[in-house]
Each structure stands twice: as C-alpha cells, then as structure tokens.
Point group: C2
Chain length 330, copies 2
C-alpha cells in the first residue's frame, strides 16, 4: 500500500499530515492540562510555613546531641520539661527512661499533642534502678549525650553554650554542677560541696567531679559503663545513688585528667517544689551525703586507687548575658 502513499497526489498527503499533527497537538495539550491539575495549589496556603525542617533529617551526628532524661514519679514535671527541652537548638532526639514500673507511658497523650520538633522515645524499664539511664540505648545516634534530671530546668542559652564547650572538650563531662572529694589524714575520703573548702589557703577552691544530672558527655562513655566491674553495679543498686560518682571515676581513669569541666550556669532551676506528685528527690534522704562519701571510698577500693583529679577552671560565656561581663577597671 505504501507505493500508493508515495504516489498519492501532494494535496491528499498534506491533509493527512495536517490531521496527524493536529491530533498530536491536542493530545499534548490534554497531557499538559492533566499535569497542571496535579501541581500543588499555592494559593490555598494562608499561613506561612515557619516550621523548621524535621531535625532527624538535617542534624548530623556530630553537630547535635541526644537528651536522656530518667523519670520516676514526677510525670507532671517531666512533661513540663519536655516542652522546654524539645526546642533546644542542636537537639537530635529525646530518650525518656521510664522508671515508673507498671505504669503506662504517656505516649497517646504525647502523640495527640503533636507534631513535636524531635522524636521522643519512651524506654519502659522493668526494675526501678538509678543506673537505668546509663544503658547504651540503641536509639542513641549522636556522639553527644545531654543528661538531665527530671526536676532540673536549664536555659536554652546555657545549654547551647555548654554544648559548644563540650565540642571543645569532648572527652570531659561538661556540666553545671561541680562537686569535690576531700582526702583526710586517715586515708578515708569524704564527699562534699564547697562547705568542705580547706580553710586558710586563700587561693580559691577546686572541684573533682561534675554531676551527670545536668551535663554533656560523650556517648562512648555509656558504652564503657557497660564494661565496669560488677561491684560498681552492685554499689549503685545497693545505694540507689552514686551512678554519677561512678561515671566521674570512669572518665577520670580514662583520661588521666580531671573528669569534668564546669560551666557556670546563668539560669538553672530546680522545679522539685512544683510537682503535684508529692515526691521529692533522692537527695532529701537523711543519709544521702553520707552514702556518697561511702561510695567514693568503695569506688577507690573497686578501682584500686583514686583517679579523680582537681580542677579550678570555671567557664562562662563571654559577653553574656551582660555584654560587658568581661570589662575591668583598666
């Protein structure tokens, strides 16, 4: 038949070509129209979209940290604090260590009040142990951990600054609560705060621990903690205390230097009195401080030596909050 095609007069061929191209053009227009209908309709967005990108997609493991917060019998404080901490810059994820054995996690309520800036994971525990927060959680993706007690509020400025300090001292516990131990002539150690300053030296004071209940430290130390002598776990379980002292021993042994770097907080608050639960923290127990002295001596025995070292470095943020906080008479 195609001979005929070639031999057909020009006019007939022209009409066929015209029909063909018309059909093609119409089909293309229909396809274009269909595509346009599929485009998102911008005019319907009345509110500008100010929400940040979901953090899990944009924060790298080096530039962000994971908040680990253990909670017992203070869910009202926990939720108040979660609303604060979920918005801290550079936060990657929150891990809530749920020590309320047998009680349901508030996951439904949490989800119903979403969306949230970062993922929050509730880790249900089977036994109410102080050292539950020192597990090597698989959900932990960042190099840095921020550990907070469930009654402590630290301002965003303090946390952002302390995180930047931790990035310069990643092998140390960088935090807001310093403590020290004292050697006595009998060789028995005592634990304390700064009422224990050796009088008469006139040359300032020293700290040898930074408590982990308000501090940044390297997630690798959680891994290390799993490899400690059994006696350490037994001690923490026996006292339901001293997990933080044990961590300071671990870090000091590892680095051969002072375990902590103290960052002076501008705005740190204890919300204990604000709880409706009527539960007050472990540190109110009469034997709390004596227990901690006991722990220091037990840990020296377990580790066969005193690894804690003293420091007198106190770090503040230049020009904050008072832009002239570095001025002097000169």
């Amino acid at each position: 038949r195609y001979f005929h095609f070639c031999k057909l007069p020009g006019r007939v061929m022209g009409i066929r070509l015209l029909r063909f191209t018309s059909v093609v053009i119409i089909v293309l227009l229909l396809v274009a129209g269909a595509l346009t209908a599929l485009l998102p309709n911008i005019k319907d967005d009345k509110m500008p979209n100010l929400r940040r990108e979901p953090k899990t997609e944009s924060q790298s493991a080096l530039d962000s940290f994971t908040l680990i917060m253990q909670t017992y019998n203070r869910t009202d404080l926990l939720l108040k604090l979660l609303n604060h901490y979920q918005a801290i810059p550079h936060l990657h994820k929150v891990i809530v260590v749920w020590n309320n054995i047998g009680e349901k996690i508030p996951e439904e309520m949490w989800n119903s009040l979403g969306p949230h800036p970062v993922p929050v994971v509730f880790k249900v525990q089977t036994v109410n142990r102080m050292r539950n927060r020192l597990q090597n959680f698989p959900e932990l993706e960042t190099k840095a951990v921020l550990m907070m007690d469930d009654d402590t509020l630290v301002s965003a400025h303090d946390l952002a600054f302390a995180f930047s300090v931790w990035q310069q001292f990643p092998e140390h516990i960088v935090g807001f609560v310093p403590r020290k131990h004292i050697s006595t002539p009998s060789g028995v150690y005592s634990y304390g705060s700064f009422e224990l300053q050796n009088p008469g030296f006139g040359n300032g004071d020293q700290y040898s621990m930074v408590l982990i209940g308000a501090a940044f430290f390297h997630s690798g130390y959680l891994e290390d903690f799993q490899r400690q002598p059994e006696a350490v776990y037994a001690l923490i379980d026996e006292t339901q205390n001293c997990d933080d002292i044990a961590m300071n021993f671990l870090v000091a042994k590892h680095t051969g230097k002072p375990s902590g770097v103290f960052v002076k907080p501008v705005d740190i608050r204890n919300l204990e009195k604000d709880t409706n639960s009527g539960y007050s923290g472990m540190w109110h127990r009469a034997e709390h401080l004596l227990q901690r002295s006991y722990c220091v001596n037990k840990l020296v025995h377990i580790y066969d030596g005193m690894p804690l070292k003293y420091s007198n470095i106190m770090i503040s943020q230049f020009g904050f909050p008072n832009y002239a906080n570095h001025k002097n008479k000169m």
Copy 2:
C-alpha cells in the same frame, strides 16, 4: 709463727685480743667525734630561714616562666613593677627590653638593692622598636613566656591562675585583654573592642585576639616570629604598633584555632597615670585604633587570608576571690 699462735696459752691470746679491740673502739670513737663536729650547728640559727631556694636551681623549665617586659621612658614604673613581679610564684627570670636608647640601664642601682629572688637581665637595644620584645632571647630558658607592658600591674593570684591555665592550653595565648576584628560587607576588616558587638543577636559576644601585653604564650612562638615575611616587620616598624596583632595572626595560623584564651582578671591595673616621666603610652595617639584596623587588613594581605577565629570562652578561677562565686539558686 702461727703454729705458735695456736699453741700459745689462752691467757696470753686473750690479752692481745683485748688490746686489739680496745684500740679499735678508741679509733671508732675518735672518728665519730670528728664527724659530730662537722654537723651543722642548729642552735646558732636564731632566725628561721624562710627564704625560698634560689629559683634558678629548683624551678624546672616546664614549671616556670620568664617575664619579658619592654620599657621606654617609664623607668619609675618599671622599677615599681619589678618589685612586684620579681616575687610572683613560678617566675624563673626577668628579661627587661631596654628601649631607652643611649641611656644607662639601672644595673648598679638594681644590684645595690639586692639580693633579688630571680635574675633580671637588662637587654640594651640599639633602636627603639616596638618589636624588640619579640626577639628570641638566648637568656630565655623556659617554655613559657609572660609578656607584660611596662605600665600594667596584674595581681599574683591572677598570674598564678593564668599560668596554670596556660599549662593546659600551651599552644594558645592565655591572657587578660581580649579584642576582636569585624568583617564588613565590603570585605574590609575593622579592629575593635566590644563596642563593636553586632547588635541584636542577643547571644553574647566573641573575641578573636588576646593582646600579648598581659599574657602567657609558648616561647616557641618567639622563634616562629623570626621567620615571618619581611612585610610583617616593615608593618610593625612603620606603625610602631601591631606586633601583638601579628602574633595573634601567627598563632591562629599555626593552630587553626582561636589564637587566644581569655582569663578574666580579678585585679589588673594600669599605672600609666602614676608615672613621673610625663610619658603616656602609644595607645593615646589619635590614630592608634585606626592604625590597628589598617594592620589587620595589611596582615590579611600579607598572609593571604584571615586566620583569626572567634571564641566566647571566658575562664575564671573557681571559688576565687569569692569562695561562693560558682553558687547558683538551685
């Protein structure tokens, strides 16, 4: 003959033995008496000896520092400051860079008022140059240098603390006077203090330099300074200024980090107004600050880039002077 010895009657042998042992005992007593006479006589010391061991014999090069103080036309201040600085703990030696060309050093007076705790060396200069203090002096034996302007008094506590901080940050300039540079949209830099804080950020301030006129740094940097481009020396000589900015560039380039660590001084004083010489420092010249901005830009050109980096770390001494200077509301 010794057969006879064996055969001699016991009594004769006894007497010989007795004589022998008597002689031995007497000789031993005489020797002991002689030794006793050689012992130091403690009773003659009426004043307890409170003077420290001469520092040059007991201070190791790592645990002590050398003070380098350049002086021009303020000998009265110099001598006042020497009396203060000569007694600073961990001081090894003082090097006075004598920029009073043609004028005799006060060596006779200095010696007549001896003894002094440490050696003081007067380095006579042939030309009055700002960069004379940045020579690699052969008398320098310590790793650490403390450089002080000849009108600046810093308390012993501040210096002892800052020295301990330097020992933890030996590659940085650890000192008491922070400054910064600002980038502008035109690409031209400006030098300044903290009136230049970028307004509205509300997140504190930053510094990018620590001035060497009141700071500790590693003596190796004096060696490095001898190997800089000629244009750097020409710049400092042209302006009689900016040697400290040049040092900060050098250190920042070397470390890839902020050049300085700022230690907030408790007690730092400028004694300028106390001089009888009528001479006031270079920084009173009208063009002083403009010159320093000029130097920043010239150095960027010489070094083909801006190596200075910002820091907001401010270090203070824990528990000093106020033993509770680290307390908070918690």
